[in-house]
Amino acid sequence: MDETSALLNVEGLTVWFQADGERSWAVNGASFSVGRGETVCIVGESGCGKTVSALSIMGLVKSPPGRIAAGKIMFEGKNLLSLTDEEMQQIRGRRIAMVFQEPLTSLNPVFTIGDQIAEAITVHEKLTPGALRKKVLELLWAVGIPSPDERLGSYPHQLSGGQRQRVMVAMALACEPDLIIADEPTTALDVTIQAQILNLLKSIKENRKLSLLYITHDLGVVASIADRIYVMYAGCVVEQGDVGDVFLEPRHPYTRGLLASLPDRARRGKPLVGIPGYVPGRFGRPSGCPFEPRCSEAEKECHIEFPQFLDWGKGHVARCPVVYSREKGR
């Protein structure tokens, strides 16, 4: 994806949180881009900075304690980080919408879903009550809620988890945004509902020609919807490329570890494979490769120098010189 045609282009995003005088780096120079009409997945373990990256794009990182220390978030050529609060309010919801992880708590318990969707519309558009109701019903229809005219008056606690997530999607669609950021929207749902929501997002993305930035730790989900993926570890992108390339030929030990840890029918009866160790809790800024302590391929140099992206062709790049030097020659 060349940078000029990208809808969203995040460069060198760095976010830290300050607690008791200590800084912990949540995002550490992450760069990624989303083109028009593209579905991009950001994959990584819990705590690798996925959600914070998404919140930074929306300008929702709580400050204090959070602070976006460096980087640019270019959306249609405008740097979102330099906008005022008022300008940012115009972007949120109208141009970029977000679907959150927990549909159970992301809806306000005291209002009917009809009111909440209506509000999502009226924030940015003035409509007559009749037109508003019609549009709310259309949205509920579009996200596949059965008998929307009855559900309009329901409170969130009267809906199932999947229906609530559909309502969240309807709210995100309310102002026809150009980009939807979905932060693990299916994590809290069971598998059949997961598939339904995924199909819903896919079809909406196709029908409405919008871009989708999908954040998840579920590689199965990635395989089914992504065009391109970014693998994040400890606040930076370690590998990126088209979904087929990365899945078939992962070029970073971390990506390989993730893929190997998927349960597989062929390995029935054997213990599940994991990556030893944990994501570092507080990332100082390591001088070397952040994955080095857990890496099975680590060599001496890994500890010293932060690895640069190495090109594997077709936009597939990974930050691992060890694998590169060993396998590129072949």
Binding site: F100, H124, K134, M168, M171, A174
Partner: protein, 386 residues
């Protein structure tokens, strides 16, 4: 596509307002189960109707029941006694031909005076608590939502200059104007600061110093207000101010907002971290809308409970003030001053103290029971059980 949709969906042209309030209904069902609270609610309604009726019957130039007609020949008549029609002038004859609650030491009809007093109690209760809740919600909301935001020195200086200037300007307009000018200078410096960039001047840096947070400011103010024994604070203020029913309302209101502030702040601290607030921000809603439309309704249940109980205590405070002679000035009758006037005749005419006393007791008790009932009805955990 749109046409199709309209055919499929009945009532598509109606407004969103037609949505049925199911939640409210379920709370009502739960409330009805609580018999004592229901009795409280009924008494509350009766009191409301009586007070409004009382206003119509006793107010105006020629009221139907005149609470201020003095009939010295008919003084201290017990309840349910008939007037001596021969001894009274035509305009002195009570329209019901009976002294329902007797007469006082000046021969005034206690029933008419009680009716007049009911309206006073009602308005004092509601207006005072209205003021308290308004102040409490705004301050509590600010403290809870913007709690960790630290005020800069320049901002505090500016606020002090404006507030101080306004007070001084009352006596010395010139000094007030100087304060206003200084405030403008501080504002100008602060704006320059916002533009940022380049080297910052000394004063800009001084004004940028972060001091205490909004939360500290408001909650310490609450603590200070709570330090005063509020009844004596009210007595002092009322003694300084001219006696009028509006001053009483304002004073009671402005000395009883602290509880609400604490409630609302506590609710907001937990609500602020909820996902739906972040979701609302992600939709592009403004702070004011998030605070007042999304968070406030979630925080209102405890406020509603404290409101009903607050009304009861405001009525009690007003009665106490009137009893001590600091309340609503005569000739206005309030339950407190009927009680106070009657205490001299407690052995000769006990109804003069018992009737207003029992009225106060019943109304205050019914408000408290009603408040408790609402608290249970709005508790979602009880609802799931029921």
């Amino acid at each position: 596509m749109k046409k199709e949709l309209n055919n499929q969906i009945p009532g598509a042209s109606e407004g969103l307002d037609s949505i049925s309030p199911k939640r409210r209904r379920s709370s009502w069902i739960l409330f009805k189960k609580n018999k004592i609270a229901l009795i409280g609610f009924v008494i509350f309604l009766v009191f409301f109707v009586v007070a409004v009726l009382g206003l119509f019957l006793t107010a105006g130039r020629e009221p139907i029941l005149d609470p201020s007609v003095v009939r010295l020949q008919e003084k201290l008549k017990p309840p349910l006694s008939s007037p001596n029609l021969e001894a009274l002038a035509h305009r002195e004859i009570p329209p019901m031909r009976i002294y329902l609650f007797g007469t006082d030491d000046l021969g005034r009809d206690v029933f008419a005076r009680m009716l007049q007093g009911a309206w006073v109690s009602l308005t004092v209760g509601f207006v005072a608590v209205g003021i308290a809740v308004l102040v409490g919600i705004i301050l509590g909301g600010l403290a809870g939502y913007f709690g960790s935001y630290r005020l800069s020195a320049g901002y505090i200086l500016m606020s002090c200059l404006i507030a101080g200037g306004a007070v001084i300007a009352y006596w010395h307009p010139v000094w007030g104007a100087i304060a206003a000018a200084l405030a403008l200078i501080v504002l100008a410096v602060s704006i320059q600061r916002k533009r940022g960039g380049g080297d910052k001047a000394f004063w800009v840096r001084v004004f940028e110093i972060k001091t205490f947070s909004i939360d500290t400011l408001i909650m310490r103010l609450v603590d200070i207000m709570l330090c005063f024994p509020s009844f004596f604070l009210i007595l002092t203020v009322v003694a300084l101010l001219p006696a009028s029913i509006y001053n009483i309302m304002a004073v009671i209101g402005l000395t009883s907002w602290m509880g609400t502030t604490r409630f609302v702040r506590a609710e907001f601290l937990s609500l602020r971290e909820q996902d739906f607030v972040t979701a609302a921000r992600a939709l592009g809603l403004s702070f004011a809308r998030i605070i007042f439309r999304h968070m406030m309704p979630n925080a209102l249940a405890p406020v509603l409970v404290s409101t009903t109980i607050g009304i009861a205590s405001a009525i009690l405070t007003e009665a106490g003030l009137s009893f001590l002679g600091f309340g609503v000035p005569p000739p206005y009758a309030t339950w407190g001053n009927i009680l106070s006037d009657g205490k001299r005749f407690i052995f000769d005419a006990p109804w003069l103290t018992f009737i207003p006393g029992i009225a106060i007791l019943i109304v205050v008790l019914s408000f408290n029971l009603f408040g408790e009932g609402i608290k249970d009805a709005l508790n979602p955990r009880l609802k799931e059980r029921g």
